[in-house]
Amino acid sequence: MYLSTEKIKTDIQQIDWLQLYQQRLASVKDDRLTSFYKAGTFAPDTPIKAIPFVAVDFETTGFDPKRDGIVSIGLVPFDLQRIHCKGAKHWIVRPRTTLDKDSVVVHGITHSDIKSAPDMMRIVEYLLKALEGRIVVVHHRGIERPFLNAALEKRINEGIVFPVVDTMELEARLHRAKPLTLWQRFRGHTLPSIRLVDSRERYHLPYYRQHHALTDALATAELFLAQVSHRFSEDTPIRELWK
C-alpha cells in the first residue's frame, strides 16, 4: 500500500514533458498551438542557467477555472541573470463571465475597463508567442495553467499543457515540509505564510503593491531569482523545479 502511493507520486512528478509536447503537436489542430508545441520544451536535465523563463500572472473573476474568467494578463521574460522589462506584456481582456464586486476590489479592474477590452482570443496568439520556448514561472500554479487551459477549451475546443515552476510550491517545500506538531500548535505556532508578499519579504525583496498582473509577474520573477540564489544553484536541473 505504502509502496504504491509512493510510486504514483513519482509518476506524477516525472511527467515526460518532451514526449507530451510531441504527442500534443501530433494531435492539435489550431495553428497557434501547433507553433507553441513545435517550439518544444527542455530536457529534464537542462541546468536552469541555460533556460529562458517567463513569469506570468493572471487576474481572474474568481478561483474556479470552469466558472470564472481571466480579466488581465501580465508577463515578463527573464533568465537567471536578468529580468527584461523590455519584453514585458500586459493585457486587459473581456471575460465571458460577469465581474463580481469582490474581485473588482482585488484587482481594481472595473466594468468600464473591460467593456473596451478585447476578447481573450484576440491576444492569444501574442500570449502563446511570449510563452513559446520558455518555462513558465507562476506563484501558485492553481491559477494560470488551469485558467488558460479552460479559456482555450471554451473558445477553440483544445486545451493546453506546459510545465510550470511554482514559486509558492518552492516556498512550501521549505516551510511546509513538516506539519506543526501538536506541541507547536499548542504553543501557538503558526506556519509561515507562503503568499507572494510574505515570501518576498523573507528574501528582503521590496514591497510591491499586489494584484496588478504585470507587477505580480515581475514580483514572481524576482522571487524566483532570489530563491535560486539562496537555495538552489544555476546548475540545478529543471526537473527538480518544474511540475
Partner: protein, 622 residues
C-alpha cells in the same frame, strides 16, 4: 494600455537623477530596465569587468571599493554605480559587492547614453568626476608636446544625418527615430543663398520644449524651431580644440564641418572614450593596478592605443617607443607587486630589459626577454630562492599580460641569466674576447640592454664595459656581422619576393625575420664598431651617419627602409587587431598595393646592399 511596470516607474520617480526626467522619458526608460538579484556577500561587479548598464539599487545595500581594495562608498536604495565605467571604456573602475540581499535595476548602456546626451541634469549627476578629469586632460594636452595631435575627424563614427529646414518637425522626428540619433542637422534649402550649408541643429529636447510644450502643430517647419548661430568646429581642428569648445559653451553635441559641409557630429561621450585610449593614460593606469589580474584587464587598452597611434599616422619610432614605455611599466609594476608579496629584496639587484624593449622598438606581438643582475654579495644558498620567486612572478605576470615567455629561455627565471654583476662582466668579456659564432648567435640580444628597475646604474656600467671593449674586438665584430647575415631580405636572384616555406604561412614574408630584425642587427654591429651607446636603431643609424663609415647617402636610405618595413609590419598588426584576429608578422605580398610592393622591394634592396657592405667591412675580403 499600461505596459510599464508601475512599481519600477514609481521608484524612479522618487530618486534623483531620474526624478528630474520628463514623464514620457521615464515611461520609456522603465520599459528598457532590467532587474537582477544579488544575495548578501556576493560580488556584483569585478574590477576590469565589462559593464553594460548603470546599476541602480532598488533595495538592499552595496559597498563600492577603490581599485586598491579600500572602501570608497556605501550605497543603499536609490544609489547608483557603474557610471565611471560607462563614461570611459566600459570597464569597471570601482568594484561593487552586495552586503545585504540586493535588488538591482539595470539601465542599459544605450539608455544611459541617451539620457546622458539629452539631459544636462542627468549628465551632471553622473559625470561630476569625469568633468574634472576631462578638464585635466585638456590642461595636460595644452602644455605637453605630445604625439597625440589628432584631428577631430578621428572621433567621427558615422555620416551626419540632416534634413532640409522646410521639412516639418514630424518628418524630423521620424528621421531621428529611424536613425536612432538624438540630434539632427538642419540644412538650408537649395534656393537659399547658402544652399547646402548647415542652418542649425535640433535635439530631442528641442522637440519637447519648443514643439510639444508650446503646442505647435507637427507641420511646423524645423527651420522655425532649430537652434541657429551654431557653434561648430572645422574638420582640420584638433581634438583638444573640440574639447575646449564643448566645455566653454557647455555643449553635448558639436557639428564638424569641412568647407561648410557637415562631415559629422561628435558628442561629449566620444571625447571621454577617446581620452581613455591615450597611451599616457594606459601607462598611468598600469601603476594604479593591484594584481596581475588587474594588469591583464588593461591589455585591451594597450591594443586600443596601438591601433589609435597607427590610425593617427604616428611613425614607427613613436609607436615603438610608446609600446616600450608601456611594456616597461608593466615590468616595473609587476616588480613592485612582487616585492610587496615577497618582501624587500635581501640584496640589491637590477632588472634588465633586453632586445626590442631596450631598443624602444616594441610592437604588439612580442615575447619577453629579461635578465637580472644581482649584487656581488650574492650567496645562492641565502638569496636565490627569493630572486627565483621574484623572477617567476614577473615572468608569469608578463605572460598573462600578453608578453609571452621567451622561446630561447632568455629570462630571469633561467639561473644562467640571474647572476651577480661580476659574472655578467665575465659573460661579456668572454663573448667579446673569445667570440664564437654559436656563442654569439643567441646572445646578440644581450647587446641591447637596459636597466628598468632597482640598481639601473649597473646596466649603464655594463653598457660602458661593452662599448669600451667591443670597438677593439675585430674578431668579435666579424662574428657579430656574420651572425647578422644569417637573416637575409627576401630578394631572390630575379630580384623578386622570396616566400617563406614553413608550411603554415605559404606565400608570405615574415616582416620581422626578413626585414626589421636584420636591419636592427646591422645597426647594432656598426654601432658597436663606432662605440655608440645608442640603443634605438634610428638613433644608432644617426650616429653611424655622423661617424661617416658608410658610403654617402646609404645611412639615410637605411633609415627610410627601416621606417617603411616597420610601418608595413605595424599596419598589418593593427589591421589584424581591428578585425579581431591574432596579429603576426607574416605579410602576403598579394595583399599589398603595387606602390607598397615597389617600395618594399626597394627597401629590401637597400638592406641587401647594406649587408654586403657590412660583410666587406668587418670580415674583410676572404
Amino acid at each position: 494600455m499600461q505596459i510599464e511596470p508601475i512599481e519600477v516607474l514609481d521608484f524612479l520617480r522618487r530618486f534623483p537623477p531620474f526624478n528630474g526626467l520628463p514623464e514620457e522619458t521615464l515611461g520609456w526608460v522603465v520599459t528598457e530596465i532590467e532587474v537582477g538579484y544579488f544575495k548578501a556577500d556576493t560580488q556584483i561587479l569585478e574590477l576590469g569587468q565589462q559593464v553594460d548598464a548603470l546599476h541602480v539599487i532598488r533595495s538592499g545595500a552595496v559597498d563600492i571599493y577603490r581599485r586598491n581594495g579600500e572602501l570608497y562608498n556605501k550605497l543603499s536604495e536609490g544609489g547608483f554605480f557603474g557610471e565611471f565605467g560607462l563614461l570611459r571604456d566600459g570597464k569597471i573602475r570601482f568594484p561593487a559587492k552586495a552586503i545585504e540581499d540586493t535588488l538591482i535595476y539595470f539601465l542599459p548602456v544605450a539608455v544611459f547614453n541617451k539620457l546622458f546626451d539629452e539631459f544636462e541634469q542627468f549628465a551632471d549627476a553622473v559625470e561630476i568626476e569625469d568633468r574634472t578629469r576631462l578638464r585635466q586632460a585638456v590642461a595636460r594636452r595644452e602644455d605637453a608636446n605630445e604625439l597625440m595631435t589628432s584631428k577631430v575627424t578621428s572621433l567621427i563614427t558615422r555620416e551626419p544625418v540632416s534634413i532640409i529646414s522646410s521639412a516639418s518637425v514630424h518628418e524630423a522626428a521620424l528621421l531621428m527615430t529611424e536613425s536612432s540619433i538624438s540630434s539632427l542637422l538642419i540644412m538650408n534649402p537649395p534656393d537659399h543663398p547658402k544652399a547646402n550649408s548647415v542652418a542649425g541643429i535640433i535635439t530631442d529636447r528641442d522637440l519637447r520644449t519648443r514643439v510639444v510644450a508650446e503646442g505647435l502643430p507637427y507641420s511646423t517647419p524645423v527651420g522655425e524651431i532649430m537652434t541657429e548661430e551654431l557653434i561648430t568646429i572645422d574638420a582640420s581642428q584638433f581634438v583638444f580644440e573640440a574639447m575646449l569648445a564643448m566645455l566653454r559653451h557647455n555643449l553635448h553635441h558639436l557639428p564638424v564641418l569641412q568647407k561648410d559641409r557637415p562631415v559629422g557630429v561628435i558628442a561629449i561621450s566620444d571625447i571621454i572614450r577617446y581620452e581613455s585610449q591615450n597611451s599616457l593614460f594606459v601607462v598611468s593606469n598600469i601603476f594604479r593596478q593591484h594584481s596581475v589580474d588587474d594588469l591583464k584587464a588593461l591589455v585591451s587598452d594597450v591594443r586600443a592605443s596601438f591601433i589609435r597611434m597607427v590610425n593617427e599616422d604616428a611613425n614607427s619610432r613613436m609607436i615603438g617607443s610608446s609600446m616600450a614605455v608601456i611594456g616597461r611599466s608593466f615590468k616595473q609594476r609587476l616588480l613592485e607587486l612582487g616585492e610587496e608579496a615577497l618582501g624587500p629584496p635581501p640584496i640589491p639587484y637590477c632588472f634588465l630589459a633586453l632586445g626590442s624593449m631596450a631598443r624602444d622598438e616594441m610592437l604588439i606581438v612580442t615575447d619577453q626577454d629579461n635578465a637580472m643582475i644581482l649584487d656581488d654579495s650574492f650567496d645562492p644558498k641565502l638569496h636565490d630562492d627569493y630572486f627565483a620567486a621574484l623572477a617567476k612572478f614577473v615572468s608569469d605576470g608578463l605572460d598573462a599580460c600578453g608578453y609571452t615567455y621567451c622561446t630561447g629561455n632568455i629570462m630571469a627565471t633561467n639561473t644562467q641569466w640571474r647572476q651577480p654583476k661580476r659574472v655578467w662582466q665575465q659573460y661579456f668579456t668572454e663573448w667579446i674576447d673569445n667570440p664564437s659564432l654559436e656563442g654569439l648567435l643567441h646572445s646578440s640580444i644581450f647587446f641591447d640592454l637596459e636597466g628598468v628597475w632597482g640598481k639601473t646604474e649597473w646596466a649603464d656600467h655594463l653598457n660602458d664595459h661593452i662599448v669600451r671593449k667591443a670597438r677593439q674586438g675585430k674578431r668579435f665584430l666579424a662574428a657579430m656581422s656574420r651572425n647578422a647575415l644569417n637573416r637575409t631580405p627576401p630578394l631572390g636572384f630575379f630580384k623578386d619576393f622570396v616566400m617563406e616555406q614553413d608550411g603554415r604561412q605559404n606565400n608570405t614574408i615574415n616582416m620581422k625575420r626578413r626585414g626589421t630584425a636584420p636591419l636592427a642587427d646591422l645597426a647594432r654591429v656598426h654601432a658597436l664598431a663606432i662605440g655608440s651607446k645608442a640603443r634605438n636603431s634610428f638613433l644608432r643609424l644617426d650616429e653611424i651617419i655622423e661617424a661617416d663609415i658608410l658610403p654617402r647617402g646609404r645611412g639615410q636610405d637605411l633609415r627610410d627602409a627601416l621606417e617603411l618595413i616597420s610601418m608595413v609590419r605595424i599596419r598589418h598588426q593593427a589591421l589584424a587587431l581591428e578585425r579581431g584576429e591574432t596579429p603576426d608578422n607574416s605579410i602576403a605580398p598579394e595583399n599589398l598595393s603595387e606602390f607598397e610592393r615597389k617600395n618594399l622591394k626597394d627597401a629590401f634592396q637597400i638592406l641587401s646592399n647594406a649587408q654586403k657592405f657590412m660583410k666587406f667591412r668587418y670580415q674583410g675580403a676572404r
